[in-house]
């Protein structure tokens, strides 16, 4: 079985400074990967390049065996920011956004949105605007908004950063559920609990290289 995502080489520099110089790696479906490393080690940049939101010198990037150009977004890959941005509308409309963007009619998307709302446990928040939500609630809404699209690969930047207690526990459970449901999940994180989850595969970024 071919991997979900394959990369032969990736380099990224900011001026004279080379941030990333990675040899090939692969991401398989149904697995979660923790990308660790110190602050400024390039974790977020790596995820953003894979999401097509940032450019880099990329060789041999393939998604499900099909070449993917650098800087090109893919409908099966969804990136979630460390502090997710929710549009200035209700939670329900935020979750429906991607479906609408992909041309699905409101009637057809209703069921999918309801499922995603139930999955993330945000039913009580459905009509609220984003500024009324806590950090943990925003993160769950962002995960639901990504999941409703049923992408094959999730790129999550520090999903538990700045969360504590219940919000963090719920977010970790949702992240685990995504991989269990067969998607690939790549997580940039510092959170030991997340990194040390059973079945979590680990990459460590050090000096611009992947270790482990």
């Amino acid at each position: 079985m071919s991997p979900l995502l394959r990369l032969a080489r990736l380099r990224k520099s900011f001026g004279e400074r080379r941030l990333l110089d990675l040899d090939g790696f692969e991401i398989e479906a149904g697995h979660a990967y923790a990308v660790t490393g110190g602050n400024g080690s390039g974790k977020t940049t790596l995820l953003r390049i894979l999401a097509g939101l940032e450019s880099g010198e990329v060789e041999g990037l393939q998604f499900e065996g099909v070449p993917l150009a650098c800087g090109e977004t893919h409908r099966e890959i969804v990136y979630v920011h460390q502090h997710p941005y929710l549009f200035h509308t209700s939670v329900a409309r935020n979750i429906a956004y991607g479906l609408k963007a992909r041309g699905l009619r409101a009637a057809a998307s209703r069921r999918l949105v309801e499922d995603a709302i139930a999955w993330a446990g945000v039913d009580a928040l459905r009509q609220l605007p984003p500024h009324k939500l806590s950090g943990g609630e925003k993160q769950r809404v962002a995960l639901a908004r990504a999941k409703v699209l049923r992408p094959r690969l999730y790129l999550l930047d520090e999903p538990t950063a700045n969360l504590d207690g219940e919000g963090r526990r719920q977010t970790i459970e949702l992240v685990q559920a995504l991989a269990r449901e067969g998607a690939g999940v790549v997580i940039a994180c510092h959170d030991r609990e997340l990194i040390e989850l059973p079945d979590m595969r680990r990459f460590h970024l050090e000096g611009g290289k992947l270790v482990g």
């Binding site: 999401a51 097509g52 939101l53 977004t73 409908r75 890959i77 969804v78 990136y79 979630v80 920011h81 502090h83 997710p84 941005y85 549009f87 200035h88 956004y97 991607g98 963007a101 992909r102 605007p129 500024h131 908004r145 990504a146 699209l149």
Partner: protein, 231 residues
């Protein structure tokens, strides 16, 4: 007529429903709103593109836009006059001294305001808004509309300010409208004419309308900016 008598007469004209006075107000609103309607789409689009894309000459365009904000309206009127006069390149269109010429002039005056406000709004927007839209599958048009929607209060402030400039300018309207009664005489050109004749009553009445319009647009803008600040 003393100033007091003129003010009393002005109130009589305003509240007595004087058809000439309200006809002038109608022409002003029609010309300003149509000019604004023509300028809004290209102005917002140009502002968005300048904010989102880097290309050679971009900096020069931004400086030009900012310069146009302070451009004297009478100079815009002069340039349009030369272009639309019988000897000008567009003389055959017979636009000079028509409402259409005034609409064109006010669209040109509102355009840089719309560009500048949109540019500033989109540049100041949270970059995650556009990235989130793109990552969720939005194409360039939907991502642009989403970003503009997220900055709608600041963009709308530009629209309102554009209206403010169009309704209150006198130089361009006078040059290319010609101040023809019942056709191209608007609030500002009528005030200039009546005052020059020593007829203050209509000027005061129209001035009051203009002040109310200016205050109204600023109140709306303050409310919108307050709404934006709530988010």
């Amino acid at each position: 007529m003393s100033l007091l008598d003129a003010t009393g007469e002005a109130f009589r004209l305003l509240f007595g429903g004087d058809p000439e006075l309200w006809g002038i107000v109608f022409i002003s609103l029609k010309v300003a709103l149509l000019g604004l309607a023509i300028a809004t789409l290209p102005g917002v689009l140009a502002g968005y593109l300048l904010a989102m894309h880097r290309f050679p000459g971009r900096r020069a365009l931004v400086v030009l836009t900012q310069s146009l904000l302070a451009f004297p309206t009478v100079v815009v009127g002069l340039v349009l006059y030369m272009l639309l006069s019988r000897q000008g390149p567009f003389g055959s269109l017979a636009l000079l001294f028509t409402q259409n010429a005034m609409i064109l002039g006010q669209a040109i005056l509102a355009f840089p305001i719309l560009v500048a406000y949109t540019l500033s709004a989109v540049q100041g927007a949270d970059p995650r808004a556009h990235e989130t839209a793109v990552s969720l599958g939005a194409g360039p048009l939907r991502a642009a509309l989403t970003t503009l929607n997220e900055t709608r209060f600041a963009v709308l402030a530009g629209v309102i300010n554009g209206f403010g400039r169009a309704i209150s300018e006198v130089g361009c309207a006078l040059m290319i409208g010609g101040n023809i009664a019942g056709l191209t005489r608007n609030i500002t050109t009528a005030i200039a004419l009546e005052t020059s004749k020593g007829e203050f009553a209509q000027g005061i009445a129209l001035g009051a309308v203009l002040v109310v319009l200016a205050l109204g647009t600023n109140v709306v803008m303050a409310i919108l900016q307050g709404e934006g600040g709530m988010k």
